[in-house]
């Protein structure tokens, strides 16, 4: 069972499963290296459009991760928040309901970098419900063709 996803912050968002958030990851022939030592860089919320339907994720970084996150280039599926938070939307319609999107999960989160400006962020998905995982899996399968 996959316990983590990694979001590759390319021009188009790519979502992949990974077993572990190791310090180095090779994804689609690209070598990503951890940008920060920590594997707990902030709280995160799954952005839900309705019960079980996840449309994105919001990372609320700790102070030590703020600077690194500001280096990530802006992308169309991304919104940088005033408190250094970062919202990443999995679909074009990025509507979500705040009241059901307040996990503040404390699972593993890791920031990676490849080359000069390619970034990826890994998230622990163990706390998602079965239905949430199933729908997320449908999305990932569709995205990856």
């Amino acid at each position: 069972m996959n316990e983590h996803i990694i979001l590759i912050l390319d021009n188009k968002l790519k979502i992949k499963y990974v077993d572990q958030l190791l310090p180095k990851l090779r994804i689609d022939h690209v070598d990503f290296v951890n940008e920060l030592e920590s594997d707990f860089i902030g709280f995160y919320d799954w952005l839900r459009e309705s019960a079980d339907v996840i449309k994105g994720v919001r990372l609320v970084p700790f102070d030590f991760a703020e600077e690194a996150l500001t280096q990530i280039p802006n992308r169309p599926y991304m919104q940088k928040l005033h408190d250094y938070g970062l919202e990443l939307y999995f679909t074009d319609e990025a509507n979500y309901i705040e009241q059901i999107s307040c996990d503040q999960d404390i699972g593993r989160t890791k920031l990676y970098k490849a080359g000069a400006s390619d970034y990826a962020i890994g998230f622990d998905i163990k706390n998602l419900s079965f239905d949430e995982l199933r729908l997320l899996d449908d999305l990932i399968t569709k995205e990856n063709g």
């Binding site: 920590s38 707990f40 709280f43 919320d45 609320v60 700790f62 102070d63 030590f64 408190d83 938070g85 705040e98 307040c102 996990d103 503040q104 999960d105 404390i106 699972g107 706390n127």
Partner: protein
């Protein structure tokens, strides 16, 4: 000639009258019970809320003791006069040591297994569980460290949107009392 003055024993001095013997005193055993008075508010204008400080001492060197009457030296004196001194000193020392740490250092103090327990506990509470149902193995030390992480997030303005960390502080306060027992 008869005496016109009537005899009246006004002060009961006539020993010729026999008074009834007093009933013997019988001691009865009674059960004394007490209930905790409901706290009406945090305001204690006459300083009667000493037990608040005795049982749950506010850190004497912090600003968050709102007692309007007792100053910090008096609070310390009350704590010393009670059995709470050991816990007080231990708690104050732990709080002091955690406050000086960065968030990264605090995170490093929480092991993966403790973080998983903490995570499960938060998830259970979100699903309706009682916060006092603390998972077996989750330690008071971990709760104290997380408490500081949450406080840092709140102080940095990162909890303003959701208020989740502020709510977790309340859960932690309850849980620490349970673990202490």
């Amino acid at each position: 000639m008869d005496n016109p003055i009537r005899y009246i024993d006004e002060f009961g001095l006539d020993t010729g009258k026999v008074k009834p013997a007093p009933k013997p005193i019988v001691l009865k055993e009674v059960k004394v019970t007490a209930t905790k008075a409901k706290k009406k508010s945090d305001v204690d204008p006459v300083g009667t809320n000493l037990f608040h400080h005795a049982y749950k001492p506010a850190p004497w060197n912090h600003d968050d003791c709102h007692c309007p009457v007792l100053d910090q030296a008096m609070i310390l004196a009350v704590i010393i006069a009670t059995d709470g001194l050991g816990d007080f000193l231990e708690g104050a020392a732990a709080d002091e040591s955690l406050e000086g740490l960065t968030t990264e250092e605090l995170n490093a103090k929480i092991s993966d297994s403790q973080r998983d327990l903490l995570r499960d506990w938060f998830k259970d509470i979100k699903n309706g569980a009682d916060p006092e149902n603390v998972p077996e193995g989750l330690t008071k030390e971990t709760l104290k460290v997380y408490e500081q992480v949450a406080k840092n997030a709140i102080n940095a303005g990162k909890d303003a949107r959701l208020g989740v960390q502020a709510q977790r502080l309340k859960y932690i306060e309850k849980a620490i009392k349970v673990i202490k027992k």
